[in-house]
């Protein structure tokens, strides 16, 4: 049984709101949880009965660095395989490398227009979430 929940971790609530709206457009029954900090995200994950369908993680969080959150997620039993999309404002090769090294499936620059942002989510959905679902069912 797979959860229909998606976790968005970003202290920029405007971004989180737009992300929520766009993610909920991906499939009708998706629900988005928003965590503002790394700690909040980890607490939320610990409380949840099922792992989220995927996680959108902002690189720059107010408390813990995204790679550290990611490392903790990957160490948690049951969360090893959750697809994680790391988003960032700047294209820093070191950030990208860190995120990928810590086990993120993708690293994307946050577009500031709705269309391109929606494309980022759709692409991630198709490449990492949807296929995984198919694999699970198969």
């Amino acid at each position: 049984m797979r959860s229909r929940r998606v976790l968005v971790v970003d202290d920029n609530l405007e971004f989180a709101e737009v992300a929520r709206e766009l993610i909920e457009r991906l499939e009708p029954d998706l629900e988005v949880d928003v965590a503002e900090t790394g700690h909040e995200a980890l607490a939320l994950l610990a409380r949840a009965a099922l792992p989220p369908l995927f996680i959108v993680l902002d690189f720059r969080l107010p408390d813990i660095e995204a790679p550290d959150v990611l490392a903790q997620v990957r160490r948690t039993p049951g969360l090893e395989g959750v697809p994680v999309l790391v988003v960032s404002q700047g294209d820093w090769i070191t950030d990208r490398d860190k995120a990928i090294a810590m086990g993120a499936q993708a690293f994307r620059i946050k577009p500031s227009l709705v269309g391109p942002l929606g494309d980022v989510f759709t692409e991630f959905w198709n490449e990492h979430v949807h296929t995984q679902g198919i694999a699970d069912r198969g």
Partner: protein
């Protein structure tokens, strides 16, 4: 000849060669000086003993091995060995001024006595040879020790002359010559004169050498100090530069994340409001939100371009020979959509090679070409890229028939955020956006290459951007 510090009389100046003046080497053994001392005593020993043997055979008609001569010869050998031993000993233990005195005295004593017993007072003729052999080793000594030794030697000789005159000593019989008192005086006088003259020569010449050495020493010190200062400064500058670079990186990082963040929220939120088809905005609200989005995007572009200014101009790159034709081809390829949209005609003449940093210069080239495409009218745009070589530099010209730039803005467009007001450069009846950073980056890069960028233009008559770039690395 062992010296004594002439000024204080307390210091054995082993190793006090003038090259070390001011270095404070007191008490530090100077191997070179000690070697000289030993060498001098060995030379004198060999010289003295050879003289003894030769004179023994030639002048006195006896073999050195004959019974009559060997006790004297034996004493001579013993004295020579003691002399060499003293030289080694004083050098090894540095026992104080009295050892130096003992050495000096002994040195003078045994040689004088040997000379006298070989051939009498007339052997003073040989003293300059001895002096010459020994004094050259003392030449750099900064004291009067050569005089001390020379006069010690001459005084001993004079003492023997007086002893002979008064009958205390029987002179050696050489060719059965009996010296008169006047002749004795002449030989003793010669001993004083010749040795003092040599000492004077050694001292004066030594003085000259010493001052030369001191000057050299000072010069070397000055130069070394200067070099060390310069090195330290260089190191400091390098450290400061690295620090600045790191600060810049941190600054750019912060700007990217923290300044862009709220701005892109504004744009994103505005865009979201415009995209909600299920709840369309009333027309006037829609126009307002569109304006918010537009100016937000413009600010975002400015930040993005400002960041690329920092990044491009501060990223290190190895200079190389660059084929401008390849650069132009690349730029034209990248701009193909824009060129196609404007249906502009673009001619590129064969271009020369230049020397510089490829990525940075390709950025400049792309930027100037992009500007040209941006400001030409749709359907009638003409862009021409040409070049000439002048005084070893390549001058590239990108000419367009676009809107042109009024003279009062021609300098400002190369400043960061320097732009021509929108209403003054409408293309196809619309204003053309831009962050005002592109040409600032271009100017920065060209200036870093030792080149120059300028524009010739007038409103309505198009613009010509010129780039002067070096063709060879700066010497």
């Amino acid at each position: 000849m062992r010296p004594l510090d002439a000024s204080t009389g307390t210091n054995v100046s082993h190793g006090e060669y003038s090259t070390s003046i001011g270095e404070g080497t007191a008490g530090v053994p100077d191997t070179a000086a000690h070697e000289d001392q030993v060498r001098a005593s060995v030379i004198v020993a060999i010289f003295g003993l050879s003289l003894f043997a030769i004179f023994g055979v030639l002048v006195r008609g006896t073999s050195v091995l004959s019974f009559q001569t060997w006790p004297v010869f034996g004493i001579a050998i013993l004295l020579a060995l003691v002399n060499v031993g003293l030289a080694l000993w004083t050098g090894w233990w540095r026992l104080g001024p009295w050892v130096a005195w003992a050495y000096e005295g002994f040195h003078a004593f045994w040689f004088t006595v040997i000379l006298y017993f070989l051939g009498g007072l007339q052997m003073s003729a040989w003293l300059p040879v001895y002096g010459f052999l020994v004094m050259h080793t003392e030449i750099l000594r900064p004291d009067a020790s050569v005089f001390v030794t020379a006069n010690l030697c001459a005084t001993l000789f004079a003492g023997l002359g007086v002893a002979e005159q008064t009958g205390l000593v029987t002179p050696p019989r050489v060719l059965d010559l009996e010296l008169t008192g006047g002749q004795r005086l002449v030989f003793v006088g010669w001993a004083f004169l010749s040795l003092n003259f040599l000492a004077l020569y050694a001292n004066r010449y030594g003085h000259k050498l010493r001052s030369l050495a001191a000057t050299l020493d000072r010069l070397v010190h000055q130069r070394t100090a200067g070099l060390q200062r310069a090195n330290a400064e260089l190191r400091q500058t390098a450290t400061a530069l690295r620090q600045k670079q790191a600060e810049l990186e941190a600054f750019v990082y912060t700007v990217t994340h923290d300044l862009k963040n709220p701005l892109s929220s504004i744009v994103l939120t505005a865009d979201m409001a415009l995209q909600r088809d299920d709840e369309p905005l009333p027309p006037r609200a829609r126009a307002a939100v569109e304006r918010i989005r537009t100016s937000g995007q413009r600010s975002e572009d400015m930040i993005r371009d400002l960041l690329s200014l920092f990044r491009i101009t501060s990223s290190p790159e190895h200079p190389a020979e660059i084929d401008l034709n390849a650069l132009a081809r690349q730029a034209v390829d990248d701009l193909r959509p824009q060129i196609g949209a404007k249906d502009a005609r673009l001619d590129v003449e064969p271009l020369p090679t230049v020397w510089g940093q490829p990525r940075k210069l390709s950025h400049v080239f792309a930027n100037v070409l992009e500007n040209a495409v941006k400001y030409v009218p749709t359907g009638a745009g003409r862009i021409h890229v040409g070049a000439r070589v002048e005084n070893g530099a390549a001058i590239v010209c990108v000419r367009d028939n676009g809107v042109g730039i009024a003279p009062e803005y021609q300098a400002r467009i190369f400043d960061v955020f320097g732009r021509v007001p929108d209403r003054e450069q409408q293309v196809d009846g619309r204003s053309v956006g831009g962050s005002g950073v592109g040409l600032a980056i271009a100017k920065e890069i060209v200036a870093a290459h030792g080149g120059h960028i300028w524009v010739e233009s007038s409103p309505g008559a198009g613009s010509a951007f010129y780039l002067r770039l070096p063709r060879r690395p700066a010497p």
